[in-house]
């Protein structure tokens, strides 16, 4: 029995798990065996194995820490979302209308009056929404804050 035969027999024994691999002929089996021997990492030394396990342990523990932190992180995220979202739903304070760039530079007594009117309108829109919608004439009307801006623009032009 030649060396090649002996090698291929041992390869066949190792590879006899699947029908498909038995279809690889002996010459190919030797080549595959050689590839397997030449192309692979060196086995871990005990120190490397310990380093691998301790690295894995550290990953598991940091994952567990994150698991316990998750509810806290979720609460912070919800809070942050609320802080970002609230200004969009909060009706602007009437004084904020004055921040719109189209506001005339010189404030006249009429504009002070307008400010007071805006206050009243704002209060009405909050406490008496039915009155607001009746005055606006249905669903086609602008919301209160937009109307305040529109009235400022129309009066200044």
């Amino acid at each position: 029995m030649t060396d090649l035969d002996r090698k291929s027999q041992s390869v066949d024994r190792q590879d006899a798990v699947s029908v498909d691999r038995q279809s690889v002929d002996r010459k190919d089996a030797v080549l595959v065996h050689r590839l397997r021997e030449s192309y692979g990492p060196a086995p871990l030394s005990p120190a490397e194995r310990a380093a691998f396990d301790s690295g894995l342990r550290a990953r598991i523990e940091s994952g567990q820490r994150l698991f316990w932190l998750a509810p806290g992180l979720a609460a912070v995220a919800v809070l942050a979302a609320a802080v970002l979202w609230l200004p969009n739903v909060w009706r602007p304070f009437p004084g904020d209308v004055a921040l719109v760039p189209e506001v005339p530079a010189v404030e006249s007594s009429a504009s002070v009056g307008r400010g007071e009117a805006a206050w009243v309108e704002w209060e009405e829109s909050i406490f008496f929404p039915q009155l607001e919608s009746a005055r606006a004439g249905g669903s086609e009307a602008l919301p209160g804050d937009y109307r305040a801006i529109a009235s400022l623009i129309l009066e200044s032009s």
Partner: protein, 169 residues
């Protein structure tokens, strides 16, 4: 008074003991799984990643971490094993993809020698030739070759690991 305290606390103590016992069994199961699959997982990752030892270790550890998290979902060792190697193959594929993207935009990283570590076994020149040949294969071909011929998976196991299980007729 004391008797009442003992009676009141004993179910809680029993629960804690049971919990500890479950945790210990889980640890033991994972230790056994790690011991029997550490070398094979590392070797498979190394071969799928073209001899990058650091990346192979990273991918293998990540797969073990996922196995640890999902240990309770799997009663039988065989199902856990199948699932584990599927995760590992996918992780290795994702790593290759990211590495390709990184190298495309930033050039090859100096900490990832393409020829592998000097401690790896075999003739370095032959290893480079094998590596180049494997790099020329498609993803599916490379995974199938490595799993079946280099790692000794059966065709069925390899198909399960790559997620290409043929449908039963």
């Amino acid at each position: 008074m004391e008797g009442a305290a003992v009676l009141g606390s004993s179910p809680a103590i029993q629960d804690r003991d049971r919990e500890r016992e479950r945790e210990r069994e889980r640890e033991e199961r994972f230790e056994a799984f790690l011991a029997s699959h550490r070398e094979r997982a590392r070797s498979l990752a190394w071969r799928l990643l073209g001899g990058d030892a650091a990346a192979a270790e990273d991918v293998a550890q990540e797969a073990f971490l996922r196995a640890w998290r999902s240990l309770d979902r799997f009663r039988g060792e065989a199902r856990l094993e199948t699932w584990f190697y599927r995760i590992l193959v996918r992780q290795a594929h994702n790593h290759r993809r990211w590495r390709a993207v990184r190298e495309r935009f930033a050039g090859p990283s100096p900490d990832e020698p393409p020829g592998g570590e000097p401690a790896d076994r075999g003739d370095p020149a032959l290893r480079r030739r094998i590596e180049a040949a494997l790099a020329g294969l498609s993803r599916g071909q490379r995974e199938a070759f490595v799993l079946v011929h280099l790692e000794g998976f059966t065709v069925r196991e390899a198909a399960e690991a790559t997620g290409d299980v043929p449908r039963e007729r």
